[in-house]
Point group: C2
Chain length 255, copies 2
DNA sequence: CATACCTATGTTATTATATAACATTTCCAT
DNA sequence: ATGGAAATGTTATATAATAACATAGGTATG
């Protein structure tokens, strides 16, 4: 019995999800009731979670979970998940293998990390969820910035984080922006994160900002950079003329 | 519509799990089909997971998941979960509120963190899962050590981690030991983690080691401390006479 | 302001799935 | 051998999910 349960568990680990019917086909010797009971058992052991018609792997879930644990912030932003995916897809090819890349914290960056599951990167990040996601990529080394953990967005910042960045070389920095306006540039709302972003951008050879278009025209307290500091801005849609012009003047490419 | 969906999501976040029937009672204005569609939507957004008859919070799952994500090591060690819980229960009261405490990485420490959900602690840790767990305690500040992330045990270590510790005061250090023997003292198997442990113990006013009894009499490459450096050793069972004697000589209390 | 159109929602019938309760088998210890 | 516990099977029943179509409400457009 334990053998069968172990086999079922391993199958689920491997496939992420199985249906009772698949299990029936795979274990013709036992009844579906027994298989259900096996799933009950594994669920009680916190190894899987039962869903209608089958079961899912918990450890696979852990991946998709962390991108959304980001508390209040994420809750407000729930609507823009599509845009974020679109942006991340456009930005992912800009990460050249073999390079040292910084990945900012935030849900858009989490989407980016999910698209970097292969390739030899040296990643440094202040997003705990980004770090965990990138650790799925066996050929990447993941460096996590130290400092105080913000429980709302799973972001690490503070003085310790600044020191940490100091001695690390960054080829490409992927940054998230809370807002952008022509007057104030790229802004965000936390002092500690603002300091860290500034520091990273100063150190990075190339800076890429990812932002969804709903954030354009708004502004937050801290300006962490302006278009002239940015090499590429990744948006989910075409910029309007004013932004296009400003970007051209500042030498910022928009994709 | 978005309001309702947000309310449902928040309800699930709060309660961990809801049934369709509960939702029907809570939203008498809409049909159950609509509520099902809301759950479909939230599941698509990776905010919840649907189960038969209702839905579950993903972020609540993340708690139970992370303690088991610890790769091969954890899978081998899963058998001692009971002992770990027992140890953690004995150790938790030693964490005095208001103090600066270090919590080592590892699954025993994860169990400890789960028992510190209330109380005003200033926590510093090198375990990513410990940090996430402690961030559930709203009155704790959580400081995460920076450095390279070990994908197997979600532990952060390396030179960056050492620097980070340098400037932080630690009242009580809760340390995990891979092995203990009378000849070699407390040992573990990773150089980077060994350096970090040493540093932490040097800085800590009080050192408490948590270890399950299956690890006694074995030994690993790096000795990070000896009984005379330890104030309290927390075991799951009574020590044998040899250990008891050695502890007495070294001034190490065993509980 | 009427029209079409899209989105959200509701209704119902149908299908699929889970559960409970009881029956049977298997295996182990005595 | 035999009692009993654990595992598994069977069936009827209850429960939930889905599909397909129907309706309502809002809004952009001529």
């Amino acid at each position: 019995m334990q053998d069968r349960r172990k086999a079922i568990f391993e199958l689920i680990e491997q496939k992420d999800e199985v249906s009772i019917h698949e299990l029936e086909a795979l274990f013709p010797g036992v009844s579906s009731m027994t298989l259900r009971r096996d799933l009950d058992y594994l669920e009680n052991e916190h190894k899987i979670i039962k869903i209608k018609g089958g079961a899912k792997s918990l450890s696979h879930l852990s991946r998709s979970i962390l991108q959304d644990v980001e508390g209040d912030y994420a809750q407000r932003e729930i609507l823009n998940a599509d845009k974020k995916r679109k942006i991340a897809e456009k930005a992912a090819p800009l990460a050249e293998a073999g390079r040292s890349i910084f990945i900012d914290a935030g849900s858009t960056m989490m989407q980016l990390a999910r698209r970097l599951h292969s390739g030899r990167f040296s990643v440094i990040t202040n997003g705990v969820n980004v770090a965990l996601e990138m650790s799925q990529n066996k050929s990447a080394t993941v460096n996590l910035v130290g400092g105080e953990l913000n429980r709302n967005n799973l972001c690490v910042s503070g003085a310790g984080a600044l020191d940490h960045i100091q001695d690390i070389n960054i080829d490409i920095a992927f940054m998230a922006a809370s807002c952008f306006s022509l007057e104030n540039g790229f802004t965000n709302g936390s002092f500690d994160e603002y300091k860290l972003k500034q520091q990273v951008i100063k150190k990075a050879k190339k800076t890429i900002v990812l932002m969804d278009s709903t954030k354009i025209g708004k502004s937050m307290p801290y300006t962490f950079c302006r278009p002239e500091d940015v090499d590429v801005l990744v948006l989910d849609q075409e910029p309007d003329d004013a932004l296009r012009l400003a970007a051209k003047e500042a030498g910022m490419e928009i994709i």
